[in-house]
C-alpha cells in the first residue's frame, strides 16, 4: 500500500524536477536574451562616454601635449597649477555666477509664463507654439546672432534702449554687462523648457483643489502662493537642478557671443577645457579642468538630490 502510493509521489517529484529545470533554463534563456538586448546600449555608452571619462581622469595626472610630445606622470601638479591659475579661477567664478543667476531668472520667468499660457485667451495655441521656438533653435545660432543683437551701435537691444533712454551701453566690453548679456541670451533660449515643464505640472493639479481653496477664501495670488507653488516645488527643485547642471556644462553661447571676454570674465568651464585642450593643446591640464567641472556637476547633483528629498517629504 505504502509502496503503491510511493510510486506516484516519486513520479511527481521527477516531473516537478524536470519542470523546474525546464523553467530554470527558460529563465536563463530569458535573462540571456535580456542582456543581449541591453548590450548594444551599454557597450555604446561604455565606449563613447564612460571609458573616455575614466581616461580623462587618468590624463589629469599627466603632462600630455601632442605639440611638446610629452606624456609624463606629474601627480597632482595639474591640480596644483589650477589652484593658482587666475584664468581658471575666474572661469569657476563665472560658471557659478552664470549657473545661479541664469537658473534663478529662468525659474521665475517660467513660473510667470506658464501661469500666463495656462490662462484661456485667444491665440493661446499660437502663443504656446511661439514659446517653443527659442527651445528649437540651435544654441550656436542664438549665440552667434546675439553678438549682432548686442552690437553697440547697430544692435537690436541698443536700438531699443537708445530710443527709450538715449544711451548705448557697451555690452560686450564692460565686464558686468558682458556677463549680463550671456545670462540674458541663455535665459531667452532656455526658459521655454522650464515653461513647458511647469505648464505640464500646472495641468496636473486638479481643479477641485483650487475650488476648495476658493471656498476657504484663498483666491488669485494667495492660491498661487499656498497651493500652486508648494505643489510645484518638487518639480521646481528637480528641474532647477537639471537646468543648473546644463548651465554649468554649457559652451556654445559663450564660444560664439563673447569668446570668454572681456579677458576671461565670461569664460565657462567647458570653454576653458576647449581652449586648453584644442587651442593650446595641453591635454593633461585640460583634463584636470574637465575633472573640476565634473566635481562641480557632482556637488550640484548631490545638493539637489538632498533638497528634493526634503521637498518630497514636506509635500
Amino acid at each position: 500500500m505504502s509502496q503503491a502510493t510511493d510510486i506516484p509521489v516519486n513520479q511527481g517529484q521527477v516531473a516537478s524536477v524536470g519542470l523546474r529545470t525546464r523553467l530554470n533554463s527558460l529563465r536563463a534563456r530569458r535573462i540571456l536574451l535580456g542582456y543581449l538586448l541591453i548590450a548594444p546600449v551599454v557597450i555604446w555608452r561604455l565606449a563613447t562616454s564612460i571609458y573616455p571619462f575614466v581616461y580623462t581622469a587618468y590624463l589629469s595626472f599627466f603632462d600630455n601635449s601632442p605639440v611638446r610630445r610629452t606624456f609624463d606622470f606629474v601627480g597632482l601638479e595639474n591640480y596644483r597649477h589650477m589652484a593658482n591659475d587666475i584664468q581658471v579661477k575666474q572661469t569657476m567664478g563665472f560658471t557659478m555666477y552664470f549657473a545661479i543667476v541664469s537658473v534663478a531668472m529662468q525659474i521665475l520667468l517660467a513660473l510667470g509664463v506658464s501661469q500666463l499660457l495656462n490662462r484661456k485667451f485667444r491665440m493661446r495655441h499660437f502663443t504656446r507654439a511661439v514659446n517653443l521656438l527659442p527651445w528649437a533653435m540651435s544654441a550656436i545660432v542664438i549665440g552667434t546672432a546675439a553678438r549682432w543683437i548686442f552690437d553697440v551701435n547697430y544692435g537690436l537691444v541698443n536700438d531699443i534702449i537708445w530710443r527709450i533712454s538715449g544711451e548705448r551701453p557697451i555690452w560686450l566690453v564692460n565686464v558686468n554687462l558682458a556677463r549680463l548679456a550671456v545670462v540674458l541670451t541663455d535665459v531667452w533660449k532656455n526658459t521655454a523648457f522650464l515653461t513647458v515643464v511647469f505648464l505640464g505640472g500646472l495641468q496636473g493639479i486638479p481643479l477641485e483643489v483650487y475650488e476648495a481653496a476658493k471656498m476657504d477664501g484663498a483666491d488669485g495670488p494667495r492660491s498661487f502662493w499656498y497651493i500652486t507653488l508648494p505643489l510645484l516645488m518638487p518639480l521646481i527643485i528637480s528641474m532647477g537642478i537639471f537646468v543648473m547642471i546644463g548651465r554649468v556644462l554649457s559652451f556654445e553661447i559663450v564660444y560664439a557671443l563673447t569668446s570668454g571676454g572681456p579677458g576671461m570674465a565670461t569664460s565657462l568651464m567647458s570653454y576653458q577645457v576647449y581652449l586648453q585642450g584644442f587651442r593650446v593643446l595641453n591635454f593633461g591640464y585640460a583634463s584636470a579642468i574637465a575633472m573640476a567641472l565634473f566635481f562641480m556637476v557632482l556637488v550640484i547633483g548631490l545638493l539637489g538630490f538632498g533638497g528634493l528629498r526634503r521637498a518630497w517629504s514636506r509635500s
Binding site: L33, I38, W135, S287
Partner: protein, 293 residues
C-alpha cells in the same frame, strides 16, 4: 430711456470684461514681442541691403531687399553638402538610437532582469558626464581609428548622446502598456522578434515618434561635437557654416559678416521651426515625457 437703461449694464459689463482681460493680453503681447522680435530681426538681416543695415535708428520694415547674401554663401561655402550631412546625421543617428534603445528598453521594462534598474540609472547618470570630460580621449581614439573627420565618427557620438534619454523614455512608455497584450501573443506562440515587431512596437509607436522629433532636433542643432571631430567639408554640418559665413566675401565690407551669418541662421533654423510648429503637441509631449513618467 427704457432701452438705454436696458443696454447700459450690458455694455458696461462688456467693457468691464474687456478691461479685466486687458492686462492678460498686454502680457501676452509683451511675451510675443520678446520672443519674436529678435528672431524676426535676425532673419531680416539677411535681406537688408548692406548700406541700410547700419543705421541709427534701425529700420524694422525695409524699403528695399536684397538676395545677394544667398548667392555669396552658396558660392563660397559647400552649403549643400553641409545641409545634406546634417540631414543624414540627424535622421540616421536618431533612427539608430531609437532602434537600439527600443530593444534595451523592452528588456529593462519586461524581462525582469537582475540589475535592470541599476543599468537604467547608470545610463542616465552617464548622460550627466560633461562632454568636455570625454572629448580629449575620444579625440585620440578617433585619430587612431581613422574616425576623425568622418560621418561615421559623428554617427557614433550622436547616437551615444541620444541613448540615455531615449532608453529612459521608452522604458516608461513600455511599462505603460498592459502586459496582457504580450501574454496573448505569447500564448499564440509568437517568437520574441515577432512579439517586439508586431505587438510592442505598434503600441509604443507614438512614443517613438515624439522621441524621433526631439532626437532629430537635438542632432540638427549640435555644434560642439562637429567642432572638435569634423574639420573637413566631408563631415561638416550646417551649424559650422555660421562662423565660416562671416569670413567670406570682401573683408572691407563689414556688413557682409552679419548678412551672411543671418542667411545661414535661416537655413539652420527654418527646418526645425517647421517641425516645431507642425508637431507642437508631440514635441511638448516629448519634452515632458522625460520628466513626468
Amino acid at each position: 430711456m427704457a432701452t438705454s437703461t436696458a443696454t447700459a449694464p450690458l455694455s458696461s459689463n462688456r467693457l468691464r470684461k474687456a478691461l479685466r482681460a486687458a492686462p492678460l493680453y498686454l502680457l501676452v503681447f509683451v511675451f510675443l514681442v520678446v520672443v519674436l522680435l529678435p528672431i524676426y530681426y535676425i532673419f531680416l538681416t539677411a535681406f537688408i541691403p548692406g548700406d541700410k543695415l547700419f543705421t541709427q535708428p534701425l529700420t524694422y520694415i525695409p524699403k528695399a531687399i536684397t538676395f545677394e547674401r544667398w548667392g555669396q554663401i552658396f558660392h563660397s561655402l559647400p552649403i549643400g553638402r553641409y545641409m545634406l550631412n546634417t540631414l543624414l546625421l540627424s535622421t540616421v543617428s536618431t533612427l539608430l538610437a531609437l532602434l537600439v534603445s527600443f530593444l534595451a528598453a523592452y528588456a529593462i521594462a519586461r524581462l525582469d532582469l537582475p540589475g535592470a534598474n541599476l543599468i537604467l540609472v547608470g545610463l542616465l547618470a552617464s548622460s550627466m558626464l560633461p562632454g568636455a570630460a570625454t572629448v580629449i580621449p575620444l579625440f585620440k581614439m578617433f585619430q587612431n581609428l581613422h574616425l576623425f573627420n568622418t560621418l561615421w565618427g559623428l554617427f557614433l557620438l550622436y547616437v551615444s548622446g541620444l541613448l540615455p534619454i531615449t532608453t529612459w523614455v521608452l522604458v516608461s512608455f513600455i511599462r505603460q502598456v498592459p502586459v496582457e497584450i504580450e501574454d496573448a501573443a505569447k500564448v499564440d506562440g509568437a517568437s520574441t522578434a515577432s512579439l517586439l515587431w508586431n505587438v510592442v512596437l505598434p503600441v509604443v509607436q507614438p512614443g517613438l515618434a515624439t522621441m524621433f522629433l526631439i532626437g532629430f532636433i537635438t542632432c540638427w542643432n549640435e555644434f560642439f561635437i562637429p567642432l572638435i571631430f569634423a574639420r573637413g567639408p566631408s563631415a561638416k554640418v550646417i551649424t559650422m557654416a555660421l562662423g565660416e559665413a562671416q569670413t567670406i566675401g570682401s573683408s572691407t565690407q563689414y556688413y557682409q559678416q552679419w548678412g551672411n551669418m543671418s542667411a545661414v541662421a535661416i537655413l539652420t533654423t527654418v527646418p526645425v521651426f517647421i517641425l516645431t510648429l507642425v508637431f507642437q503637441r508631440q514635441i511638448v509631449e516629448g519634452i515632458t515625457s522625460g520628466v513626468f513618467k
